[in-house]
């Protein structure tokens, strides 16, 4: 390998890429456990589909648009790396192979659209969702990643490299971006049947906890891996990620106990995620004490934010806005207060004698990404809706989208065996008769009719 190469750094980034990859299944479980049993599979599949589509697009043109040499004013990369060709096997970026950096960043491009899916749980046509992912990463994510993550000493992305907006691991590009897109989508698709009336409680909290556990685990790769080296900054990012997350978990539980009278496990899981989101942009700028403060604030504020949807009446079903948009904004802005100047960046925050300068830059970054993401996401969602229709029929939603879109039900705990599978809900078979669109062939006319019998 060429000079400047570090096997240690490469090992760290490659393993980090694997850790970030596992966050997407983790997210799938986190979301999948929160919906009702009858739409669990659709929720899981929405995240897994992103693993499929984005991986392919990344090779074709995604990497090039995001990290190809800047083509204009730090807005977008060029097409030098179409098909990921022209990247030498041992060519380096910093101390690691370019391919290692490319696959690490691919994992970010995968989870970002997956995060959006929580806002439109139970009601989106699967094919339409796939189309949306492809359009959204192309028109929203790839450019924004270029703005924020592409550094080329001053000739890189306009937010990060050119204007000093600090986003260590994606508070703006990933979380605000996805959170605001989620808001746009749930406005375009409208509310679920029974929103505000039915409880719509999580059907499996252990699945939610599994998701949050895997997210927490993978997030160490997400945050520390963003140092692109196994060094002191990476180590500090691990410390900050852990303690901010723990503090946010505590913060959410306390808020909840005071407000609603119980410590819920959903609160613990959500608090952890809120902390992970908030520390994402800041983990390379703050001290452990600063991280604890950011965590406590993010936990409590997000706990309050998730009930806004009931007040304002938008059905952000799984709180993508309340956790990712709000949490991402909190973390990005608090850098302006807590940045010590002594970790990954030299910029100081207000509390460390840095004045309001950095806070201003952070606010600018938050505003720009939020605005761009909201407008474009709304337009794309409208376009998809016009083209193929984004939302399933009400009867499909009531019967459970899993049957209609995937011809499956998530569970069958039948004692009798699959002969009774879908038919005995009491047995756990999350039954609901097949619905037009599922992989079914009626035996005879009357059978046809039964297709909506549920």
């Amino acid at each position: 390998m060429p000079d400047g190469f570090s096997a240690g750094d490469t090992a760290f980034v490659l393993i980090s890429a694997a850790l970030v990859m596992v966050m997407t299944p983790g997210l799938a479980f986190f979301y999948g456990g929160m919906v009702r049993a009858k739409s669990t599979l659709n929720m899981l599949a929405m995240s897994f589909l992103s693993l499929g589509i984005v991986s392919v697009l990344w090779v074709l043109y995604g990497y090039s648009l995001s990290f190809g040499p800047d083509s204009f004013a730090g807005l977008i990369g060029n097409l030098d790396f179409l098909g990921m060709r022209g990247i030498g096997l041992n060519e380096l970026t910093g101390s690691i192979p370019v391919t290692a950096f490319a696959v690490f960043q691919l994992m970010f491009a995968i989870i970002t659209p997956a995060l959006i899916s929580g806002a439109i749980a139970d009601r989106a046509k699967f094919a339409a969702w796939g189309l949306f992912i492809a359009l959204w990463v192309t028109i929203v994510y790839f450019p924004v990643a270029h703005w924020v993550f592409f550094f080329d000493n001053g000739n890189g992305g306009w937010l990060g490299d050119r204007n000093g907006v600090i986003d260590f691991a994606g508070g703006t590009a990933v979380h605000i971006n996805a959170g605001v897109a989620g808001l746009a989508l749930c406005l375009v698709l409208g509310k679920r049947v029974g929103f505000k009336k039915d409880p719509m409680r999580p059907h499996s909290l252990p699945l939610v906890m599994l998701g949050s556990g895997l997210l927490w685990f993978g997030w160490f790769g997400f945050n520390a891996g963003s140092a692109l080296a196994a060094n002191g900054v990476a180590a500090m990012a691990v410390v900050n990620t852990q303690v901010a997350t723990g503090a946010a978990l505590v913060g959410w539980l306390i808020y909840e106990k005071l407000k609603h009278g119980a410590f819920t496990t959903l609160g613990a899981a959500s608090g952890a995620v809120a902390g992970l989101v908030a520390i994402t942009p800041a983990c390379g700028s703050v001290s452990p004490l600063g991280a604890v403060a950011i965590g406590l604030i993010a936990g409590a504020v997000c706990a309050a934010a998730v009930s806004l949807k009931y007040r304002w009446g938008f059905d952000d079903s799984l709180d993508v806005v309340g956790v990712h948009a709000v949490g991402g904004a909190i973390g990005s802005l608090l850098i302006g207060l807590f940045a010590t100047g002594g970790v990954g960046q030299t910029a100081k925050g207000l509390f460390y004698g840095g004045g309001l300068g950095q806070l201003g830059k952070q606010a600018m970054g938050v505003a720009v990404v939020a605005a761009y993401s909201f407008v474009l996401s709304w337009l794309l969602a409208k376009a998809v809706d016009k083209l193929v229709g984004f939302r399933v029929a009400e009867e499909v939603e009531v019967a459970g989208i899993d049957q209609a879109e995937h011809a499956e039900s998530a569970y069958d705990f039948s004692a009798v065996g699959a002969g009774l599978a879908r038919a005995l809900p009491g047995l756990g078979g999350v039954a609901s008769a097949p619905v037009a669109g599922s992989a079914e062939k009626p035996v005879e006319k009357p059978a046809e009719k039964t297709e909506v019998d549920a």
Binding site: A423, P425, A431, P434, E440, K441, V443, A447, K449, T450
Partner: protein
Amino acid sequence: MKLITAVIKPYRLDEVKAALQAFGVHGLTVTEASGYGRQRGHTEVYRGAEYTVDLVPKIRIEVLVEDEDADDLIDVLVKAARTGKIGDGKVWSVPVDTAVRVRTGERGPDAL
């Protein structure tokens, strides 16, 4: 006294409950069930395999009522549960010798 049993489509349960409340019946017992009838069933293809599924989920409701209310209650139930589509279900009534409220031991009408 009569025991009215209704087998209905699961998602009609809310309407039925509301209708019973309105009618003035304030208690009922629900069990999950599944059944088939006219619709007989349909075949499915899953991962290359083809097979028949002939049972669909139903909700089974039991309500104890006094004799004189039985007929009206049946009408209420039927109206609330109806979708007009095959598989709407059945309602039937059987005679009850006696009913007791466990908490108090009251018998007959007072038990309801």
